[in-house]
Every structure is written in structure tokens, then in C-alpha cells.
């Protein structure tokens, strides 16, 4: 690891002043991704500003019936929280589907939102990567891409977002609260991440120096009927090759409302709006579920070695919807 400085402010204003004052400063949450990337030489911050002493370790009820989660909340605490498990089970399941117990004990909600892609070229500093070094090229299209994007990629980048948690947050229309140099801002998760287009190095819409303070989960009573499913190369401890977070509101055999988000298929947690649209008001049948999945996936642009993701994700969506019908 290259040398760097370390600070741990106790007050948000200090943290924001520090990040504004030092070139190359970065916020540090649990460090489970950032420290790893520093070992690989992918990240070389001049100063780490540890934000875990800030007063952001909380889970509280919002007045509107939603839930508010502080950005410093450890992943293990989030997954174990009773309100999360009861009211947003897909979120608890998504968090538990990631990493291992020891890492979840360290990892924070804010850090999880900002974790970086596990694209092999991004993580290998000896290889070109437009995300790591703009305009250096992308070997993934013709190279190792069997776990890269089938939706939302650009010619410059087809890396996928690795977060399980963010897929569930996308399904629940979470809102991310940030402090930016210009002041506080509430960013709907749909506007939080950005597609690579011609700037793959920019992954979010945050201003430089932004500090995530909390995530709000809006009230959604039928989110209690939600589920996160993850397919991976192995039963445990690996990143998804495809995942879905689904919440279903079904009555009298008809879909009243539905939320579907997909993971490991796009550079962002992919909200399947087309599938949702095609399902609302339809009978809750396997046929309808298949049509909905197809409505979303017909836009997929798979490459040589990741075609399998299209049927894989279709199957995951359909199976999860069926399970939720059975559970309701």
C-alpha cells in the first residue's frame, strides 16, 4: 500500500472541511472495499477520512411510516434489525447474501452504496480500464466478460455494480441523503447512480466531496411481501452472476403493484420498470410473469460469454414472483 494520512473527525462539519481541504482525500467507512483496492493499487488516496465516528449509526422510524438508516450503520446491524426484516425483508436478505459475517460487521451502508465494480480489468492495475484510467481502453468486450453487463453498458464500459444491498434499495425507491459543499440534498436512488455512457469513471451523481448521511426507505406496506434472490457461481461468498429484488402486491389473483430490481446485469442496480409496467393489473400467473421478464430483457445486449444471463435472470424473476404469489 502507498502511504497516506488518516483522520477520524467526530463532527460532520469537520469531515466536510477536511475533504474540501485536501486533494486526494477520501471518506472511509468500514474499509472492506476501499482498503482492499488500496492494497491492489487501484485506489491511492492521500488521506483517509474515517467517518465511522460521525453520528450516523442508527435505524429509526420516519414519521411517514418509512424507515431511516444512518450511513454508518454496519451491514450486520442493518440485516439483523427487526423492522428491516419485517417490513423490508428483501433488504435484509440482500445484505446477508453479500460477503461474510466478519466483513458485514465492518462494512457500512454508505460504503456499500459506493463500493466499486469487481470487473477483473478494473481491479488489475496492469490492464487498461476506462473506469480506472479514462481513455485507456476496455479489454472486457473481447476478453473476460462472462460476469459483466447485459444492460446499460456503453462502448467504454460494461462493468457491473456489485452491491446486493443497492438492488433491494432500488426496488424500494430508497432516498439517499447527502451533504454536499452546496448543502444537503435528498437523492432518489434512481438518480443516485449513473450509467457509464462516455464517462465510466463517474459512477454516481454526487458532487466531489459529498458525504452520505442516511438512506430513507419510504413507507410501502406490501414490501413485507418481498424477496431477494441471488444466483452465483457458488453457494456462498461470491458476487452475483444475476440477482433480483422483488416486492409484490397481489389481490384476488391480480397484480395490484410490483417492484422489480435486477443486480449483476448492469452498471447500476437495474430497476425493471418495463417489467413492472407490463405486470400491473395483470393476472398473477407464470405466463404473465414470463411476458414481463421478456419485456425487460428484450433490451438486453449480451456479449459472447454472458448470454446465459438473459435466461438466468428471466428465470430468477419468474421464480421469485411465483414464490411471492404463493407467500401472499
Amino acid at each position: 500500500m502507498k502511504e497516506f494520512g488518516y483522520e477520524r473527525p467526530a463532527h460532520p462539519t469537520d469531515a466536510l472541511a477536511m475533504i474540501a481541504g485536501v486533494a486526494g482525500a477520501r471518506f472511509l467507512g468500514g474499509g472492506t472495499n476501499l482498503v482492499d483496492l488500496m492494497k491492489l493499487g487501484v485506489e491511492t488516496p492521500a488521506v483517509l477520512i474515517d467517518v465511522t465516528a460521525l453520528p450516523y449509526d442508527f435505524v429509526t422510524d420516519d414519521a411517514d411510516g418509512g424507515l431511516r438508516v444512518g450511513s454508518g450503520t454496519r451491514n450486520s446491524d442493518l440485516a439483523a434489525h427487526l423492522a428491516v426484516r419485517r417490513r423490508y425483508p428483501a433488504l435484509a436478505q440482500a445484505v446477508l447474501a453479500g460477503a461474510s459475517g466478519q466483513l458485514r460487521n465492518m462494512a457500512t451502508v454508505g460504503g456499500n452504496l459506493l463500493q466499486r465494480t469487481r470487473c477483473p480489468y478494473f481491479q488489475d492495475v496492469t490492464k487498461p480500464c476506462n473506469k480506472r484510467v479514462p481513455d485507456s481502453g476496455c479489454p472486457a468486450r473481447d476478453g473476460e466478460h462472462h460476469n459483466l453487463a447485459i444492460l446499460g453498458g456503453s462502448d467504454l464500459c460494461i462493468a457491473t455494480n456489485p452491491s446486493d444491498m443497492a438492488v433491494a434499495l432500488a426496488a424500494f425507491d430508497a432516498v439517499v441523503f447527502v451533504e454536499e459543499p452546496a448543502g444537503p440534498r435528498a437523492v432518489p436512488i434512481a438518480d443516485f447512480y449513473r450509467l457509464p455512457a462516455d464517462e465510466p469513471q463517474r459512477e454516481t451523481t454526487l458532487e466531489p466531496g459529498a458525504l452520505i448521511t442516511a438512506v430513507a426507505l419510504p413507507a410501502l406496506p406490501w414490501a413485507a411481501n418481498s424477496r431477494y434472490r441471488k444466483a452465483r457461481e457458488r453457494a456462498s461468498y461470491s458476487f452475483a452472476i444475476g440477482s433480483v429484488a422483488v416486492a409484490l402486491d397481489v389481490a384476488d389473483g391480480m397484480v395490484r403493484d410490483v417492484r422489480i430490481a435486477l443486480g449483476a446485469v448492469a452498471p447500476i442496480p437495474w430497476r425493471a420498470y418495463r417489467a413492472e409496467q407490463s405486470l400491473r393489473g395483470q393476472p398473477a400467473t407464470e405466463v404473465a410473469f414470463r411476458e414481463a421478464a421478456d419485456a425487460e430483457l428484450e433490451w438486453a445486449q449480451p456479449l459472447r460469454d454472458n448470454r446465459y444471463k438473459v435466461p438466468l435472470v428471466r428465470n430468477l424473476m419468474v421464480r421469485t414472483l411465483i414464490e411471492l404469489v404463493q407467500a401472499s
Partner: protein, 1015 residues
């Protein structure tokens, strides 16, 4: 900046760079070495500590992040010298083998039970996914967690008196004597060894698969802070490359040269003008700190000229292939036939049914959580060298380094192995780094330490398997096999490893008939050099390749004739009345009931009643598959003369020294070298049984060439108990005999009238008057005041054992899998293993070995593969790119042991260490193929990753099953080579038509293979 934390309840201050990791702070600054380092990337969990009461991986936490926090390490658990309930449960359940990963597991489980006092098995396994384990198969660990949960609910009442074993010691599952210190984190491994004045080495390795070295500029590196010296091959002078000592002498072979002219040559300590694989050692830096040595490594400039590379054995035999060694035409080390080819060909020509298949056993690595290391030291006053290194064979490498590498007097070199964090065979070699550290220690005048890292491990340590076989099996329509003919290709990598070239013909070739009576077997071993890491034995070595091959072929044949694969096995197995059985390839099977083990295993899984189970799976979108793996595995290396006839230049007898101290305690030195097999326990049990002394009175010494033994042959190939253990048994008999003789002298009676009883001798005619304790006998022999004519003083003896034959453990394993139709994911839902290891000294120890064997085999079948691209670049150098099996990927195993003693040693014990690995991978692959058989899929190449299976299923259902005789075959995808699309293609590529022994022609018969197979 001054910081503080509470470490194990005591506030400590520290001032380190922000880039210092918490694990380094704990180990280096505070000297708490119970916290281990396995990967540095947060995957293995060996470094787990409690931070603020919660388990975290201390290699993923900056020391600064712990400022102000409370940190608990393994040393901080419970009261000093005692065990917590969790630790005691690990001990009780034999959840500890080599102990390296144990502290991390204990810390992790301590956290789990503090927040979930009553976890389900699924919750336990899911939580344990944060801790990698390579030897227990997690089976006993899960049991320990369940036991610990029970203990914790009992308050302090679980603290019972130490167990007392009544009756026979042999056959009792006594708790491992080695375990308590491991559970407390007190056992020192190579990383924990520090010598006064020690400095640190870092080795520069080739990044290229094949290149010439035009020049090396070390000047910038030499000028960096803390650097003591930078060395290249030019500095080494007369230091020789590694030797090879197992070479079949009856066939033509070609080798890299060795300056001694006595043996073939292997890898050089530092490459001279050319590098031949990613990892070849190029230069070495010695500096005051590890960080300084690593920093200086970056400043060495090597002028490489990259050459074309070849990574596949059969490709390397083609005339156009890059040539690795001038002395090895066409990269062919040897082509060694075994068996009667003409008879096999004739039987195949006359057969009703002929099945051809290419069987690929991919390249794997031991990838033990503890990596390797070495410390060299040199005493300029005496000229004595000492090497500390975590290898299995301290005495053999002492001899080889002295004689063939450094050229120093044998009696000026001492080799010591600290505790070893498991080996799985891959710490069983002579490595280039050990002698290099000795040379450096003399050159710089200080002890020099080198410690490997996870990412360097696949570059520094030989890999295993990488065996391709074109097999032809012939038989009748009613299920009787008449012939098996195999052309095998072993990828040796860039250089031959000390014992590896002797293995393919002996351990694979002789074993290919498996448990079956096959009249006309033939095997041809082709050994080929390529631009990859050298390969050698890994747990199950040789026999794993052979059993995988025959067990896959049996299933292919059964499918071809439409017969139940279990019935085909039953028909062809060697029957109990056929022993001793000559398998026509060199083995002489000793004893057993092979069909009996098969039937027991089938009964355990309810083999005849699985239809409902299959239907249930289909209703859930899964396909159920059942696979059988039967095996016989030669163990107990070995009869020295037989091994000699196969070209091994070494004795393979066992030896043991026993001294009864004047105070009555028993000191034993064994030629075995335990590295997780609990031999301190099992050998103590033998001594306790034979001499009638309590376990606590017995000390077992090992792993130091300055011991009581002339030479220790070490532990490998499941030989420890059935060879070295028998030597201990024999030494006990000599002790008893000497005690009786001395007693007879003192009692003034004939020796015949004196009997040995538990820890005493007595005259039969006056057992209450003429009686002396073992201690009294030892004491009087030590005094030497009154000895019979010719009697030597001291009650001590050396026992030896050179077995007349190998021994042959056997059994049948059955795997049941579910394949997810929509994702291709394979879940192992049940695993049943029936094994016969002959007489068993400690059942739980032996079962624990089987658990590890099963886990390793499942890992190979489903996850593991070392991959290179076509330039020789290594693609798998972490636990994420080279995944090893985790707890939630395994079920609890169902084990049954039968006991058929071998007649080949007085204990009746057969080998047990690695022999139950070979049937595992074929059982799992057979099960998956069974699950997919109605799609026309009959063969799949390991590892069976979801995308491999999914593609095979898609292709098969899209294209329909291949025609008769063909097989839908999918390559194991994911390699960087183009076209890993895995189409359904006929996979039979074997040929039996090539001439025997033709070296250059060996490649001509290489068949076109499905693309995308692991190289």
C-alpha cells in the same frame, strides 16, 4: 501519531504508519501471533479477531481504525491455560487438525454464539463461510459449534474432569493431544518463528510464461533504504539446480541437466538466461524489513525478451511447439508403457462394446491457508547451516540440499520444521527457496527469512493433477469388462519436481484398474514439459487421477449397455476370495470386501428407492443425480526394494526411537512428520497400548533432523501409521524384550519366565514378589551397576519397519446432487462414504481425515481450476479466482467404516490420510452426469461451475442428444482462451493406435478437444 487500544483487556499504545493493518499491529508490534495470516484479502478469515466484541478480519482493518477500540485476540479468550466452552467443544469434536485456521474459527464462532446462542446448522454453515478451511471439511467444526452452544447453556457445568480412557488405547477416539495449544493460539508456525538479527528476503519472479533474460539491473534496488543485498544467478557461483530422485530407469527419458551428473536437474534457485513459467525465480532482495525488501523488488529492472509459450501438454508435443529445454526434444520427458498392449488391443478388437472417452483431471493447487516460508541461518564459527521451513520431509531435503544443491557436508546441515498449517502434499517437495535462504544467510551473515503470500503461492509452489487421458474400455453386453487401454498425458510444468516424474506410471498407471478385475489393462504415461508451474503430488496423488478415470469410464460403459452402474461395479469388482490379487499392472491387493462396501453405501443412500426423491426434486425445478465412486488406493510407501525397482533413489522404511527415561517417562522420536494428522496422539496410543503407560507420560518428538533417529522418512502418501506407526510398535516390542531380559537377570530366572505387563515386568512364578515397574527397570538399566553379560545400558530401542508390500484401503462413496435447471447450480445434498482402512487406532482422527478428503474432492469437482492463458499468464492467484469449498456448500457427511486388517503389517492398519480422496470427484461428477443423462449429456469436465452446466444443458436441449456413441461434452468454461462457448460436441478422442514408446509421435495422436477446457 500516538494511538491506543485495549488489547485483551489491557490498554496499549501504538504509533504506526496509517497503512499498517490491524493484523500486523497485533502480530508484529504486540507479538500476539495466535492471529494468523492466510490471504491478506479478507477471504480466509484466519486473521479474525473481535473488534468491539464483533468478529472482523484484521487484515481488512487499518490499525488506525481500531484507535480507541477494544480488540480481543485468541490469546485473550478465557482464563490463562484454560479453554473456553467454544475451544473445549472444538477439542472434543476433533475440529482441529493442523490448527492454523483454528484461532480464526474460534474467534468467529465466539461472535456467532454471543449473538445467536441457538443457531441452526444452516445458520452455522452460513456464518462459517467467512472462514476458509482446507482439511476438516467443516464437518467437525459444525459439530463443535453445536456442542459449544449446548455447553454455553450449561453455565460452568460443562467443565468436567479430563476424560479417562478405560481399556484398549488402540481403537479409542481420545482427544488430540496437539489441540489445546493450537486452540489457544500458542502453536508456532513458520510465520511465527523469529531469530535474533533476522533479516527478510523477497523474491522477484518471472511475470512471463517464457522469456530470455538479456540483462538484470539491480543497482537502483541495491541503493534503496534498508537493502542489504540484491542477488541474481550470477552471484550464486557453484550452487546447483534442484535434483530429481524418482526416475523410472527402464525407459528412455530426457531431462534438464544437473551438474552433478548423478541425477536429472530441476528448477534453478535463480534463473540464469531464461525463464520458463510465471513464477520462475529471477532475483532476490535481502533487507531489514519485509516492506523494504518488497519496495526494492519493484526497482529491479529485468530486460526480458518474451518467447512463445505452450501451456497444454498435448500441444507441447506438436513439432511446432515452443521448446523448453535443449536436452528435451519435443518437450517429452518420457513415454513409459505399462502392461500388455497387444493383449489389450486384441481384447478391444474382439469386444462387443467399446467405449472411448477423453478424461480430463484439471490442474489444481493445494492452496493451503498457510502458505510456505523458510528461514536460513549460518554459523560462521562452526560452518553449521540451519534451515527452518514448513515442509513435510525434513530429512530427505537435508540430504538433497547438502548433496545436490549447495554441496556442503550433510552433517553440517540441520533442517527443522515448525508446526505446519497443512500441506495437502504440496509442502512435500524440495523447493528452490529453502536452499536459497541458506546461501543468503552465509552471504549476508545474518539469518534470512522468506515468507510467501497468497498471490505468490501459485507461482512458488507446485500445482497438482493436470492429467489428460484418452481411455478405451471394452466389455461385453452383459457387463463384464475385458480390457482398459489408456494413453495418459501428465503436464509436468516447466521443470521436474523431485519425486513427481516417478508418479504417473506408478501411482496413476498401476492404479487405473481401480477396484475391478480387468484381464487386459494397459497404460502409457507421457510426461511433458510446458510453460506452467511445475506439478507434483497433491492429496490423493496419482490414485485420484486413476480412480477418476476408471470410475467415469465405468459409468460411460454402464450407460452404453443400459445397465445400472452399481451392477456393473458389482460384476467386475475383485471378490473377497481373490486375495492376494495381482491387478496385472504391479499392485498386489491385500484384503477386503469391495462389493460389500459398495452394497453398504448403496443401502445407506437408499439407492433402490430414489424415484420419489427424484420426482420431488423435479417438482422444485431441480434434477436429482446419484453418483458412485468406488476405489482401491495403494498406501503405505513403502517396500524399499519395490520402490527402488520403480526408480526411487531412497529407502522408504519407517523408523522410531523409544527411550524410557530413568524417571519413567517415555520419549519417542518418530520418522513420521505430522502436519495435521494427529500422529502425536495416535502414536502415543500405540505406545500406551503396548507398554501400558498413561498418555501423559509419553512425549513424541519429530520434525528435526538433529533428533534421535538416523534418518526420518517423513509423512506422505498415507504411510505414517502403517509404516512409521508400525516402527513405533516394533520399537515397543524391543523395549519390552529388553525389559524382560534385564528383569530375568535381576530375578535370576530364564527370560521365558518373565512377562511384560502394563508398565511392569514380573516373573510368572512369583508375580507379586518378582516384579519391577517399567521405571525401576529403566532406572536400573540407566545405573548400569548390575547388567547381564552383553546387556547395553539404558532402556532404549530403535524400531524399524520396511513393509513386505503396500497396503490397499478401499471403499465406495455415493454423492447425491441436485442440479438447478434454471441456473445450472449444483448442490451436494448428501454424501455417503464407506471406507475400510484396516485396523484403526483413533476412529475420530481417521474420520476427520476422510472429511478433509471429501471436501477437497468436492472442491475439485465443482470449483477449483488453475488457469493459464495461451501466453502462459497465470489467471488464478487468489481465493476468489481459485475458489475453495466453503461450509455452506457442503452437507454433513455420512461415514461408515468397515475393518479388514491388512496382513502386511502387525497392526493390521492400512493408510488413511489421503486415500479416501480419489473416489470423491468421480462420485460427484457421476452424480451430475446422472442428473443430466436424459438430456444426452454423458460427460462433463471439472470444475462443474454453473455456467458450464447451464451451457451444456442449453446446448443439449437445443441440439438434441448426440448420436449413439457420441457424447455431449462441455468444456469447463471461463478460461481466457477464445471460443469457450461450450457447444455440444462429440467428446470421444482417445486413440489406442499409436505405437508404443515413440517419443515424437506421441503428440500426433492428440485428439481435437472441446474448446475451453482448463489448461
Amino acid at each position: 501519531m500516538d494511538r491506543a487500544l485495549t488489547l485483551n483487556g489491557v490498554e496499549v499504545r501504538f504509533d504506526v504508519e496509517p497503512r499498517t493493518l490491524l493484523v500486523d499491529l497485533i502480530r508484529e508490534e504486540f507479538g500476539r501471533t495466535g492471529t494468523k495470516v492466510g490471504c491478506e484479502t479478507g477471504e480466509c478469515g484466519a486473521c479474525t479477531v473481535l473488534l468491539g466484541g464483533k468478529a472482523v478480519k484484521s487484515c481488512m482493518v487499518l490499525a488506525a481504525q481500531a484507535d480507541g477500540a477494544s480488540v480481543t485476540t485468541i490469546e485473550g479468550l478465557g482464563e490463562p491455560g484454560e479453554l473456553t466452552a467454544v475451544q473445549d467443544a472444538f477439542w472434543e469434536e476433533h475440529a482441529v487438525q493442523d490448527g492454523f485456521t483454528t484461532p480464526g474459527l474460534v474467534m468467529s464462532v465466539t461472535d456467532l454464539l454471543s449473538r445467536n446462542p441457538d443457531p441452526t446448522e444452516a445458520e452455522i454453515r452460513s456464518w462459517l463461510d467467512g472462514n476458509l478451511e482446507r482439511v476438516t471439511g467443516y464437518h467437525n467444526v459444525v459439530a463443535a459449534v453445536e456442542s459449544a452452544a449446548r455447553k454455553l447453556k450449561q453455565g460452568d457445568s460443562w467443565k468436567i474432569e479430563p476424560e479417562v480412557v478405560a481399556g484398549d488405547m488402540v481403537g479409542a477416539s481420545v482427544r488430540p493431544r496437539e489441540a489445546p495449544e493450537m486452540l489457544r493460539g500458542e502453536t508456532d508456525y513458520i510465520a511465527d518463528v523469529t531469530l535474533p538479527g533476522m533479516v527478510h528476503a523477497a523474491i522477484l519472479r518471472s511475470p512471463h510464461g517464457h522469456a530470455t533474460i538479456n540483462g538484470i539491473d539491480t543497482s537502483a534496488a541495491a541503493a534503496m533504504p534498508g537493502v542489504i543485498g540484491v542477488f541474481t544467478a550470477a552471484d550464486l557461483g557453484f550452487v546447483m539446480p534442484l535434483p530429481v530422485i524418482w526416475v523410472p530407469t527402464d525407459v528412455e527419458s530426457h531431462w534438464p541437466p544437473h551438474p552433478s551428473g548423478m541425477v536429472p536437474g530441476g528448477q534453478s534457485l535463480l534463473a540464469t538466461d531464461r525463464v520458463r513459467f510465471v513464477g520462475d525465480q529471477v532475483a532476490v532482495v535481502v533487507a531489514e524489513t519485509v516492506q523494504q525488501a518488497n519496495d526494492a523488488l519493484q526497482a529491479i529492472r529485468v530486460d526480458y525478451e518474451v518467447l512463445p509459450a505452450v501451456v497444454d501438454a498435448e500441444e507441447a508435443l506438436k513439432r511446432s511447439a515452443p521448446q523448453l529445454h535443449e536436452t528435451v526434444p519435443n518437450n517429452l520427458c518420457m513415454s513409459a508403457p505399462l502392461g500388455d498392449k497387444a493383449a489389450a488391443d486384441a481384447a478391444i478388437a474382439a469386444a462387443e462394446v467399446v467405449v472411448e472417452e477423453t478424461i480430463r483431471n484439471q490442474r489444481i493447487m493445494a492452496n493451503t491457508v498457510e502458505a510456505r516460508g523458510a528461514i536460513g541461518s549460518y554459523d560462521a564459527t562452526t560452518g553449521d547451516y540451519t534451515l527452518w521451513t514448513n515442509v513435510q520431509p525434513v530429512n530427505p531435503i537435508r540430504l538433497l540440499i547438502a548433496l545436490y544443491v549447495l554441496g556442503v557436508p550433510y552433517n553440517k546441515l540441520r533442517v527443522i520444521a515448525p508446526a505446519i498449517g497443512s500441506s495437502l502434499g504440496a509442502k512435500g517437495y524440495l523447493f528452490a527457496d529453502g536452499p536459497l535462504m541458506l546461501w543468503l544467510a552465509k552471504a549476508v551473515g545474518r539469518p534470512v527469512k522468506w515468507l510467501d503470500t497468497r498471490s505468490s503461492y501459485p507461482r512458488s509452489t507446485p500445482h497438482g493433477r493436470d492429467h489428460v487421458a484418452h481411455a478405451t474400455l471394452a466389455g461385453s453386453r452383459d457387463g463384464k469388462i475385458s480390457a482398459l487401454s489408456v494413453r495418459g498425458f501428465n503436464n509436468l510444468g516447466a521443470y521436474p519436481v523431485i519425486n513427481a516424474p516417478g508418479s504417473p506410471r506408478t501411482l496413476i498407471g498401476q492404479s487405473v484398474t481401480g477396484a475391478y478385475d480387468i484381464a487386459n489393462p494397459y497404460y502409457e504415461a507421457n510426461l511433458v514439459f510446458t510453460n506452467t508451474s511445475p506439478t507434483g503430488p497433491v492429496r490423493g496423488s496419482g490414485r485420484a487421477e486413476a480412480i477418476y478415470l476408471i470410475e467415469r469410464m465405468i459409468d460411460r460403459y454402464a450407460g452404453e449397455i443400459g445397465m445400472d452402474p452399481a451392477e456393473v461395479r458389482r460384476i467386475n469388482m475383485v471378490k473377497p476370495d481373490q486375495f492376494p490379487y495381482d491387478n496385472h499392472l504391479g499392485w498386489m491387493y491385500d484384503s477386503g470386501d469391495y462389493p460389500g462396501a459398495l452394497d453398504k453405501a448403496l443401502e445407506m443412500v437408499g439407492y433402490d428407492d430414489l424415484d420419489a426423491r427424484r420426482a420431488d426434486s423435479r417438482a422444485r425445478g431441480k434434477r436429482l443425480g446419484v453418483g458412485i465412486g468406488s476405489y482401491v488406493a495403494a498406501a503405505g510407501v513403502g517396500p524399499s526394494a519395490i520402490m527402488g525397482s520403480k526408480g526411487l533413489v531412497s529407502g522408504t522404511w519407517g523408523s522410531a526411537y523409544i527411550g524410557i527415561e530413568p524417571s519413567g517417562e517415555v520419549s519417542v522420536t518418530t520418522g513420521a512428520q505430522p502436519h495435521g494428522q494427529s500422529q502425536v496422539t495416535t502414536f502415543s496410543q500405540i505406545v500406551a497400548q503396548e507398554l501400558g503407560v498413561p498418555l501423559e507420560a509419553i512425549t513424541i518428538k519429530h520434525s528435526d533432523t538433529n533428533g534421535a533417529l538416523y534418518y526420518s522418512q517423513a509423512s506422505y502418501g498415507s504411510r505414517s501409521l502403517s509404516v512409521e506407526g508400525v516402527a513405533v510398535y516394533n520399537a515397543c516390542q524391543l523395549i519390552k524384550e529388553k525389559a524382560r531380559q534385564h528383569a530375568a537377570h535381576l530375578f535370576h530366572c530364564p527370560v521365558d519366565a518373565v512377562e511384560y505387563g502394563p508398565a511392569k515386568v514380573f516373573a510368572r512364578f512369583a508375580p507379586d514378589q518378582a516384579v519391577m515397574t517399567l521405571q525401576q527397570i529403566a532406572f536400573t538399566l540407566w545405573l548400569g551397576w548390575d547388567l547381564a553379560e552383553g546387556m547395553t545400558p539404558g532402556l532404549e530401542a530403535k524400531g524399524f519397519f520396511d513393509p513386505p508390500e503396500f497396503n490397499y484401503p478401499y471403499g465406495t462413496h455415493v454423492a447425491i446432487v441436485e442440479v438447478d435447471e434454471q441456473t445450472g447450480h449444483v448442490e451436494l445434498v448428501r454424501y455417503v462414504a464407506v471406507n475400510d482402512f484396516g485396523t484403526v487406532v483413533n476412529p475420530k482422527v481417521v474420520d476427520a481425515q476422510s472429511h478433509g478428503n471429501i471436501a477437497l474432492g468436492v472442491g475439485q469437482a465443482l470449483y477449483e481450476a488453475v488457469r493459464y492463458d495461451e501466453t502462459g499468464a497465470l489467471l488464478t492467484d487468489s481465493y476468489s479466482t481459485y475458489p475453495i469449498v466453503r461450509a455452506s456448500e457442503l452437507p454433513s457427511f455420512e461415514l461408515l467404516r468397515t475393518v479388514t486388517p491388512t496382513p502386511n503389517n502387525p497392526l493390521g492398519a492400512k493408510g488413511a490420510g489421503d486415500v479416501s480422496n480419489p473416489p470423491v470427484a468421480p462420485a460427484v461428477v457421476n452424480a451430475v452426469c446422472d442428473a443430466l443423462s436424459d438430456l444426452g449429456i454423458t460427460s462433463l469436465d471439472m470444475p462443474l461451475q454453473p455456467h458450464t452446466i447451464w451451457r451444456a444443458m442449453s446446448s443439449a436441449s437445443a441440439g438434441g442428444a448426440a448420436g449413439s456413441g457420441g457424447s455431449a461434452s462441455a468444456g469447463s468454461g471461463g478460461s481466457a482462451s477464445a471460443g469457450s462457448g461450450g457447444s455440444a460436441s462429440a467428446g470421444s478422442g482417445g486413440s489406442t493406435s499409436a505405437g508404443s514408446g515413440g517419443s515424437a509421435s506421441a503428440g500426433a495422436a492428440a485428439a481435437a478437444e472441446p474448446a475451453g477446457a482448463a489448461s
